[in-house]
Every structure is written in C-alpha cells, then in structure tokens.
C-alpha cells in the first residue's frame, strides 16, 4: 500500500529525496533503539537464564568473537557461494525450461500447472529426499536450493515472455528481427521488468531453502551449520549473532540490490509513469 503510494508520485519523491532519506533513517534508528531497549529490559527481568537469553551487548561480543576467529566470515562466504551456485543453476535450468514451455505450448500448459504446484511445495520437504539420494554434502544442499527456486524462474520466464505486447514483436519482425535477434533484442528486454520480479522471488525462495538445508544437512561450514552448532552447544550468543547476519544479508539483497535494480528498470521502461497517469 505504502509502496504503491510512493510509486504514484515519482516527481514528488524525487524532489524530496534527501528529506525522505533523513526521516527514513531516523525512523529506522528509532525502531532499532526501541527493539534493543525491549530486549535489554526482558534480559534484565531475568525470566530466562543468561545463557538462554543473552543481552544485546553479549550478542555484539559474540559477533566480534565470531569475526575474530573468522568462523563467521568463512561460514558467510561458503553460504554465499552455495547461494550463488544454486541460483545460477536455477536460472539456467528454469530459463531454458521456461523458454521450451513458450516454444511448445502443449508442454508449456502442462508444465506450468505442475510447476505452480511445486512452487507451493515446502522446500524443507526436499531435504530427506536429498540426503538419501545425494548425501550429506554440498550437492545435497545445492539440490534443495535449486528445487526451491527453479520453478519460480521457470514460471516467470514462461509468463513474462508470453505477456510481451504482441505489437513489439510485430514491429520487430517487420524490421527484420527473427530468431535469435528477436529473442535477444526484443523478447529479453521486453520481458525484463517482470523477469526481475520473478528472479527476486526466486532468490527469496533459494535463500529460505539454503539456510534450512544447511541446518539439516550437516557439513563443515555455512551459516546454517553455525546455527546447528549453536543449538548443539547451547550457545545462544552464537545463534542470535548468526540470525542477525542472516537478517542483514536478506535486507541487503532484497531491499538494496534487487530493489535498486527494479527501480532503475521501472524508471527506464517508464512503468511508474503509467501508475502516475492512472
């Protein structure tokens, strides 16, 4: 609702950008302060023993220690590598199958209802299957990540290309765009705004699945692995420190990277102007 409102006033938003940012930052700071304050208060009430609910300061120390002994940077790096690998594989397979679905309408129709069904399938439910079929290793985790996100990529590719305004294709065809040139210079850019939305969703699915898989499929590294270590050794500081890291990564990707790309594409394609004139 709020997002829609800002989209409808691109001019105003641009003009007040600096002021908006300041108040945004102030709100965020206030929110964080309140959150930490309540946490500290609950800690001081002593409902739970310290080792089960550490104070904010203790978690900060935990994070510092984890960074100092480099287990957090390594875990983060490994997790990111897995995410990148799984995501690349998903986009590759999902993209190719999605294009095949466009090319062969019969297959597309069947596959899309199948893929929609699998879209709602909880990714964690793939874990036992992956463990038995592939084992407790990176490939098992990769499998779960791919299964969680590939169908989203597939459906997005399929629907984005099918929803390209036919006039673009006719005009391009008229100017001599055929085969690969039509695909590369018209279909891909025309589908980009909706492709980005789908890829953002696929990323979020992949991210959820990855942490879940890392907790359940035990390997030596990764954020999920650190979480399960924390559980085994009853180290709440470790657990919360890792959770904060996971939260920050999610924010950075979704709110900053994907949103920036989306905003840029929407502005260039003139999509916000449409919302404005409606």
């Amino acid at each position: 609702m709020l997002e829609k409102k800002t989209q409808q006033q691109p001019e105003k938003k641009r003009r007040n950008k600096s002021r908006f940012d300041v108040s945004d930052a102030a709100n965020t700071a206030l929110f964080l302060a309140a959150f930490v304050g309540v946490w500290q208060l609950v800690f001081m009430l002593g409902i739970w023993p310290q080792f089960l609910l550490p104070s904010p300061a203790m978690v900060v120390t935990s994070i510092a220690n984890l960074i100092a002994d480099s287990s957090l940077p390594i875990g983060l790096g490994v997790t990111m590598l897995r995410l990148a690998a799984g995501f690349v594989v998903s986009i590759g397979i999902g993209g190719v199958v999605g294009l095949a679905m466009v090319k062969f309408p019969g297959f597309g129709k069947t596959m899309s209802s199948f893929a929609v069904g699998l879209l709602t399938f909880p990714s964690i439910a793939w874990v036992p299957f992956a463990i038995l079929l592939i084992g407790f290793n990176d490939f098992g985790i990769l499998f779960v990540v791919v299964m969680a996100s590939v169908f989203s990529v597939m459906i997005t590719t399929y629907s984005s290309i099918r929803n390209i305004p036919p006039l673009y294709l006719r005009a391009a065809n008229n100017m001599g765009a055929k085969g690969f040139a039509l695909f590369r210079y018209v279909m891909i850019p025309a589908a980009t705004p909706s492709l980005i939305l789908g890829i953002r969703q696929a990323w979020s699915f992949a991210w959820h699945a990855l942490i879940g898989a890392e907790i359940l499929i035990t390997t030596l590294y990764g954020l999920g692995h650190i979480l399960s270590i924390g559980k085994e050794f009853v180290d709440m500081g470790l657990i919360i420190a890792t959770m904060v890291t996971i939260f920050v990564i999610g924010m950075v990707f979704d709110r900053i990277i994907f949103r920036k790309i989306e905003e840029r594409v929407r502005a260039r394609w003139g999509l916000d102007q449409h919302a404005d004139s409606q």
Partner: protein, 282 residues
C-alpha cells in the same frame, strides 16, 4: 479535372507495389455464422513515389490489407509484389508505422531509430550517424537520448516515422498513425509528413478512417467498402499540397465519398438483418 478515376494498369512493371486479387476471410469458430470475407479479391497498383491513402469505416479490412502487404498477416489467396518481386513474409523493404505503442520503451529515441539498422548489421558509427540524421529530420534532436515514456504522443509518432525512414524501405505503410493524437498535433504531423514525402519521394500507403486526412494527404485516395470487401472508388487528386480541407474541390470529394460510404452502411445493415453475409463473401 482535378479528380479522376484511377485506371488500373495490370502487370505494369513501373509499379512499386502491386496487390493482386487479395482475399481474406475471418473465421469465427465460436458461432455457426459463415466466415466473414473482409477482403474480396482486392487489387491495387501503386507507383514509385505515390502517396496513396486508403479510407474506409472500421471493419472494412483496411488494416488487414496493410498487414497483408507488410507480410505480418497472410492472405487466403492473392499475392503481393514489390518491384515485381513476390513477397510472402515480412521484409524491411516494407516498414509499418503503427497507430501507437510500437516503440521500444527500453531504448532511447536514437536507439529506437537505430534498431533496424543494427539488425541489418550496419556498423555502429554508421548507424548512429544515420539515426541522428533522421532524428534531426523529425525535429527530435533535443530528445535524442530521452526514453519513449518521456515523450508526448506526437513525438512518439515522429520517432516511429524516423525509425521507419532509417530503414530506407521501398514502401512506407502507415496504419492510422495519427488516430490517437489531438487535432493540432495531427495537423502538424500532416504537414511534416508531406514535407518528408516531398524530400524523400518515398512510396507511402496510408490507412485511415478519417476522410479529411485521406483527402489532405493522398495524391490518390482509395475508398474501401466493407460490404464489397473491395475498392469502391479510386480517386486521383491532382491538387497541390498542403491542401485546404474547406476548398470547394475537397468539399465536393468529401461529400461524394461520404455518400458512397452511406450506401455502404445501409447495405451492411440490410446484410446484417437478413443474415446473408455469406452472399457478400461470394
């Protein structure tokens, strides 16, 4: 004589564009009604450099005819020749300017104009130079690097014209290109288009439902009849351009065309009520 019936020269090699006995019917598979013949053996010869307007009410098949000529649609029978060569598919020798919305929003004005040249494999510096030339010809230099959504409706259509001209087509096909514009903008673009025709001597086929527009622009006006599915009248207008729509000659012609079309409407209504569409198709 300012206006005369155009005599068709069959198989003339001087023709730039030849439409030969083109027929097209639409198939309504939802009802049991017979196929509706939109075009019924239409033949047209257009000479090099001619500016032909096709006018007719909606549903007379004028856009269908244009699409068939462009190769975007295939006829049930009949054929299209450009410079005596038979054409069955799209080709950059016949470029269509659509009513609206056919420009690519992800490209700037210049990039849009460059698009066809890029496909044709024209080297980058050459095509930028060419694109800039047509962008400035359409008085869009100030907006060369703007994106499409930043332009007004009239500017968009100027970009579309620049994009088409950059391809250097043999025939420019215009499918109600100014129908969505306001009157002032349309007048401006009419003059602009006439100047361009004067300067480039391009062969233009311009489809419209607006009789004034057809009379102001065309060196020849073809009236397409929905009931015949064919040409009802083919008029050569020898008046200099820009023309005044209130001049006695044009007023006379307009009245004449309206009368023809009025008969057509009555005919069509009768056809509909007695539901003998099939007869028309034959």
């Amino acid at each position: 004589m300012i206006a005369s019936e155009y005599k068709q020269k069959r198989g003339g090699s001087s023709a730039m564009l030849q439409v030969r006995a083109v027929s097209k019917a639409f198939h309504y598979d939802t009802t049991n009604s017979p196929n509706h013949a939109v075009l019924n053996g239409v033949s047209i010869d257009i000479k090099d450099g001619e500016f032909v307007t096709i006018v007719g009410p909606s549903g007379c098949g004028k856009s269908t005819l244009l699409n068939i000529i462009a190769g975007l649609d295939s006829p049930d029978s009949g054929s299209i020749f450009v410079k005596g060569e038979r054409k069955t598919s799209t080709d950059p020798d016949r470029i269509v300017i659509f009513q609206e919305g056919a420009l690519f929003p992800w490209l700037t004005v210049t990039e849009n104009v460059e698009f066809g040249l890029k496909l044709a494999g024209v080297p980058k510096d050459k095509r930028i130079e060419k694109a800039r030339h047509f962008v400035s010809m359409m008085q869009l230099s100030r907006f060369a690097d703007s994106y499409i959504h930043q332009l007004s409706g009239g500017m968009k259509q100027r970009v579309a014209i620049a994009r088409a001209l950059a391809m250097d087509p043999d025939v420019l096909l215009m499918d109600e290109p100014f129908a969505a514009l306001d009157v002032q903008t349309r007048d401006m673009l009419h003059n602009h288009l006439l100047q361009i025709h004067e300067a480039t001597k391009k062969t233009i086929l311009f489809v419209t439902h607006n009789i004034n527009e057809a009379l102001l622009l065309g060196s020849r006006v073809i009236v397409l009849s929905p009931s015949l599915g064919n040409i009802r009248k083919d008029i050569v207008i020898d008046l200099p351009r820009p023309r005044d729509i209130d001049s006695p000659e044009l007023v006379l012609l307009k009245r004449q065309i309206l009368k023809e079309l009025e008969e057509d409407f009555q005919f069509a209504r009768k056809e509909n009520t007695t539901a003998t569409r099939e007869k028309t198709a034959q």
